[in-house]
């Protein structure tokens, strides 16, 4: 397994692992029905912790720094696929409720961060999956 595949597996595991935690956080915040400055403080605390954790992990691994040019090409192609998937998901998440509920209805504010986090998750998931698929196809060609 090369560095690119390791990076993709790492991202896949981290993103898949982080998503339920983020969903739980949102659920708890929605239950407490905090507003304004309360939300901001919670976001700042969790955001700082996530940023610090991410920095420590990435500084130690230094994944993308070691990619060669072919791996960067695979990475960029996967990024294109992820962008398309992300846009499709975002489009569906915003347009489908409009058709289902109608223009005169309203949506709970809670769904806005849910849509945001889900979009990020879809993008990262498709990116990692696309990298792994391309590497697997190349490995198949080698045999």
């Amino acid at each position: 397994m090369n560095r690119l595949q390791k990076s993709a597996w790492f991202n896949l595991v981290v993103v898949t692992g982080v998503f339920p935690i983020a969903a739980l956080g949102l659920f708890l915040m929605a239950r407490t029905n905090a507003k304004g400055i309360d939300y901001l403080i919670i976001f700042l605390v969790f955001g700082s912790l996530a940023g610090l954790g991410g920095y420590l992990l990435l500084r130690k691994k230094g994944f993308e720094a070691g990619f060669d040019e072919r791996e960067k090409t695979i990475y960029k192609r996967a990024f294109e696929w992820a962008t398309i998937a992300l846009m499709l998901f975002l489009c569906c998440a915003c347009i489908i409720p409009f058709f289902v509920l109608g223009g005169g209805n309203s949506v709970r504010v809670l769904y806005l961060p849910v849509i945001f986090l889900s979009t990020l998750w879809v993008g990262q998931f498709v990116h990692s999956a696309a990298v792994l698929i391309q590497c697997a196809l190349e490995a198949e060609d080698e045999q």
């Binding site: 090369n2 560095r3 060669d68 040019e69 072919r70 791996e71 090409t73 590497c135 190349e138 060609d141 080698e142």
Partner: protein, 73 residues
């Protein structure tokens, strides 16, 4: 529609250079073995920089390693 392809002599040059392994060439060129495999199989066209690095590893000119082929020509 034109069908352009870059052929290469890497396999032959490796054997002419003391049966150099793909891993050894990859280490000298500063890429992964998978990249050398992909280039050798004609599945990936390297950048100009990498092409020069590979040629320099063998001590030959770039055009001795890579050849541009246009099937329409």
């Amino acid at each position: 529609m034109s069908n352009n392809r870059i052929s290469n002599q890497i396999r032959r040059l490796r054997f002419e250079n003391g049966e150099m392994t793909q891993q050894q060439l990859a280490d000298k060129a500063g890429v992964t073995r998978q990249t050398i495999i992909a280039i050798e199989a004609g599945k990936y066209a390297p950048s100009l920089t990498l092409a020069f690095r590979i040629a320099r590893t063998f001590g030959v000119k770039v055009e001795d390693v890579f050849r541009y082929e246009n099937e329409d020509a």
